[in-house]
């Protein structure tokens, strides 16, 4: 029995690779990615004494934007658009500090850097006593930052995992070949396969958002159409990935393995759990390739900070390009799947 099992395992190379390579890969990646320590806090400083304020900042605070006028509207915009996580306005005994509560761990680290663990106790900035206002998530609730990201995880689950299974099931049952010789265009079959999953993914999205806002009180401050556009692009990417996975999988087991291999890194490395700024540069670049990284940015930005589409052009562009590339690739693979296989 043991010998038989080893023989089968040896021939199931994907499972073997998953059993041996995945733990090593996960250990290495997570070793560098799994960190709540924030060492880089993007900071905006407004007021005539930028240099003086900068000199008093703790080491982890890095000034990324400065304005010689003590313009609080400018400072809030810097936070809203995600350019900075903390904005300091004015100097002297009681400067005004805005903190972006949607960047949970960065906000907590910034509070610590200011000399206190809560908005009520402070003493940083060269001995001054800043007045701190927490924006977007005043109570620093974890649910506020997790639920917009979890929406994305659910879309990956339905879009990639379930879609890949649906297509492979057809292949395993032999019905895909029957579809190939029926008077249906490949595009008809492709759309016919993904539209139901697309609809289910959107229904899931609506349910999760409704539950998130009704039960967990997560605010939806931004524009619904902007959020919907981001979700739409993201669903395209996840569905395309699902079809791609199905096109290289012979069985539902293989499809599940591959789908999990795309889901797991996205959950762990997209900034959903661990802040991107805490990851070492190499791992962070991997995170920047993952679609969930961009959807999390969009969903948190729109839901919590009411971020406008103009300042979200980068994640929107990336998702649009990735969606187009994945959809084209998936369609081509699907067409090849349905077209008569060239015998030599």
């Amino acid at each position: 029995m043991i010998l038989k099992e080893f023989r089968q395992l040896r021939r199931d190379r994907r499972t073997l690779a998953m059993m041996i390579a995945m733990p090593v890969l996960l250990l290495v990646i997570l070793g560098y990615a799994a960190s709540f320590d924030v060492s880089f806090i993007p900071t905006a400083v407004a007021g005539p004494d930028v240099a003086a304020v900068t000199a008093t900042l703790p080491k982890s605070f890095h000034v990324v934007a400065a304005n010689p006028k003590p313009d609080s509207a400018w400072a809030r915009t810097e936070l809203r658009d995600g350019h900075a996580s903390i904005a300091i306005i004015g100097a002297g005994a009681r400067p005004l500090v805005y903190l972006d509560g949607s960047q949970l761990f960065t906000a907590r680290a910034a509070l610590g850097g200011l000399g206190g663990s809560s908005p009520q106790s402070r003493g940083g900035l060269g001995g001054s006593s800043p007045r701190v206002i927490l924006l977007y998530n005043p109570d620093l609730k974890t649910s506020y930052v997790m639920i917009p990201g979890i929406v994305g995880v659910i879309l990956v689950f339905v879009g990639t995992v379930i879609t890949s299974l649906g297509v492979v099931r057809e292949r395993q049952a032999g019905t895909l070949e029957q579809l190939a010789v029926m008077p249906l265009r490949p595009a008809d079959v492709f759309l016919g396969k993904i539209v139901p999953y697309f609809a289910v993914a959107l229904a899931d999205l609506a349910i999760v958002l409704a539950v998130g806002t009704a039960i967990f009180g997560v605010p939806f401050n931004g524009s619904v159409p902007v959020f919907a556009l981001g979700a739409l692009l993201f669903v395209f990417v996840t569905l395309g990935l699902g079809v791609l996975i199905s096109s290289v999988s012979q069985t539902q087991g293989q499809a599940i393995q591959l789908a999990i291999m795309t889901l797991l890194p996205q959950v762990l490395m997209s900034g959903l759990i661990f802040p991107l700024s805490s990851m070492v540069a190499g791992v962070r670049w991997i995170a920047y390739l993952l679609p969930l990284t961009y959807f999390t940015e969009i969903s948190r930005g729109v839901m919590l900070r009411a971020q406008p589409i103009a300042s979200l052009w980068a994640p929107f562009t990336y998702l649009a390009l990735l969606g187009a590339a994945v959809t084209v690739l998936a369609t081509l693979r699907f067409r090849a799947f349905l077209a008569p296989k060239a015998a030599r």
Binding site: A173, G174, T175, E177, V181, M182, P183, P340, A342, A343
Partner: protein, 273 residues
Amino acid sequence: MTDWGADGVTIRFGRKTALDRVGVRVSAGKVTAVVGGDGAGKTTLLRCVVGALAPGEGTVRRPDARRTGYLPPGGSGYEDLSVEENLQFVRSSYRVDVQLDDYLDRAGLAAVRGRLAGRLSGGMRRKLGVIAAMLPGPELLVLDEPTTGVDPVSRADLWWLIARAAAAGAAVLLSTTYLDEAARAARVLVLDAGHTLAEGTPAEVVAAMPGTIVAVPGPPDDERERRRAWRRAGQWRVWQPDAADGLTPDLADAVCVAALRRELAARGELADA
């Protein structure tokens, strides 16, 4: 009427030649059977005729997809759709306006029209697959082993359905491992390891068999003769290339002899056999 089929088709998968210059003719209103053992190339030929596989060499004649019905190997509809839903899907895909009741009645599936295909017996599932392939009223009906693994009563029902399709004018091409079924067909193509062993009407295939067959009580003692012998229905039969008198051969005998001759030729024993 148009004959469908293939001419000189060669298909290779890597280094393996699955079909070597194989041709088949499928006439309207007739049943053509492709017979052969496992790995003979039956499914490959049918997939090629129906358009699921492109031939490396040779030509295929088939009507367009709207006028072609196909039962793939093991095909019997979607398990998680009911019998009626399966047929509705085929009807809408082919955009034909047919009464499903007729087909359900013909196949004896009217009483289980609401049952999930996955909960049907093996015979019922194959009947569902066959009527789904027949539903578009195809000019060319291609059925891959429609009766394999099916009980004798269901086999008879399936053959009745197939005969009805041919009587309605369809050119039927089916594969089977049962030689008694092949004997009912108008034409037979016998394949072995991708090569054509025999082709023609069952009578032509039998008539083309050289020599004769004798019945013996047990396996022959002579080793060479034993290589020309096979067991059938509790007795041994030996092919005698030069004898004049013997049993009246049927299609099963002719197919066995064709396979033996190929084997003997490969061993270089055919000339003196």
